[in-house]
């Protein structure tokens, strides 16, 4: 839908009790990030925000737009404008550094806590492993590997909101891709890491992660996969004990 106004009233949330309103010129094909950049360049140079690639690859520009987490570089104003107004705020569920820039440390710390790191099964001296892209396990892993770490799912997750230590959808989806990766050697470590008090079993399957993922990934199903896998491991371990 083309923009029908010349000016957009943009409310920027800058801390708990401060919202600044800016009048920004409306253009065709204008993204939310364009609007934020316009404010920073022409209205208020003290406005802090974060971006890098501007093409939906780096995952650094996510913000709350009218209360919904979005990648702002790929979100058109015409899609989100409520009449001629829009409200932009920092990502939910993460500590705010300043204005629209949040501290991503807790988000990435949880990737590590969920064993979301590669555990090599071979060294550089071994021959390159042959991977069949058609196996069901590889297809499952492939479904989740295009995550750009934008934390949109993390901001959308109500379980993270009520349980701040919960690992969250992105870290758990990463664990799921590694669990299905034949090149990864730490299956037991991953299962242990995601089975603790803050692990995958806390997910209520509300599905906000899957609804809002800008890359149309499906972390909710990945977490369901982890629950199935841990349940199987539970019985196997009991059987072996």
């Amino acid at each position: 839908m083309p923009m029908t106004t010349d000016q957009i009233k943009v409310s920027i949330q800058r801390g708990e009790d401060r919202t600044d309103v800016f009048d920004v010129p409306a253009y065709e094909n204008q993204t939310v990030l364009d609007v934020v950049s316009w404010i920073q360049q022409y209205a208020d140079p003290t406005l802090s925000y974060r971006f890098a690639c501007r093409v939906g690859m780096c995952g650094s520009c996510a913000m709350m737009v009218n209360g919904v987490p979005r990648w702002t570089c790929r979100t058109h104003m015409s899609k989100v404008c409520d009449g001629d107004t829009v409200t932009i705020g920092p990502l939910r569920n993460l500590p705010v550094i300043k204005d629209l820039a949040v501290d991503m440390d807790p988000f990435f710390d949880k990737w590590t806590a969920a064993e979301g790191v590669h555990h090599p099964s071979a060294s550089r001296d071994d021959p390159i492993a042959s991977i069949d892209p058609e196996t069901p396990q590889r297809v499952t892993a492939n479904a989740g590997i295009e995550c750009i770490n934008c934390a949109v799912c993390y901001a959308a997750c109500d379980t993270v909101a009520t349980q701040p230590d919960y690992l969250g959808p992105a870290a758990l989806q990463r664990a799921w891709t590694l669990l299905n990766d034949s090149k990864d050697s730490a299956r037991t470590d991953i299962i242990d890491a995601i089975s603790g008090n803050d692990g995958c079993h806390n997910c209520h399957s509300m599905g906000s992660c899957t609804v809002y993922c800008p890359n149309e990934l499906d972390p909710m199903s990945a977490i369901a996969g982890l629950k199935r896998e841990t349940a199987t491991a539970f019985f196997k371990r009991r059987g072996n004990a």
Binding site: T159, T162, Q163, S195, G196, N197, D198, G199, H201, N202, K227, T230, A231, F234
Partner: protein
């Protein structure tokens, strides 16, 4: 706040309760439609090991299942943690077990 052990306990008790709920509903419909009196019902349940096992299992499964659910609600909505959270879970579970157990005993004991 749910680890694998609590998660599995809640799922296994849910699995146990599924047929028991259906059985319970069937018994209620049968009792109501047949016009059974209290004395006739007690006549069938008192001294019956089968009914003791059926409803005894039901009460144990329900107590465990509900207590774990209560734990999640208490943590997420009331912000309870640590020992108090465990106390709510155990208190809720043992309370339900006592209430349910008393009721089952009342209709099955001779």
């Amino acid at each position: 706040m749910l680890n694998l052990r609590l998660y599995m306990l809640q799922r296994i008790t849910a699995l146990l309760m599924a047929p028991l709920v259906l059985g319970h509903l069937a018994v209620m419909i049968y009792a109501v439609q047949g016009g059974l009196s209290t004395a006739e019902i007690l006549g069938r349940t008192q001294g019956s090991v089968s009914w003791l096992l059926f409803y005894g299992t039901f009460v144990i499964a329900a107590a465990i299942h509900a207590a774990i659910g209560l734990r999640v609600i208490a943590y997420e909505w009331c912000g309870l943690k640590g020992g108090i959270l465990d106390l709510v879970m155990w208190g809720g579970g043992l309370g339900l077990l006592a209430l349910g157990g008393r009721a089952v005993w009342a209709v099955t004991a001779i």
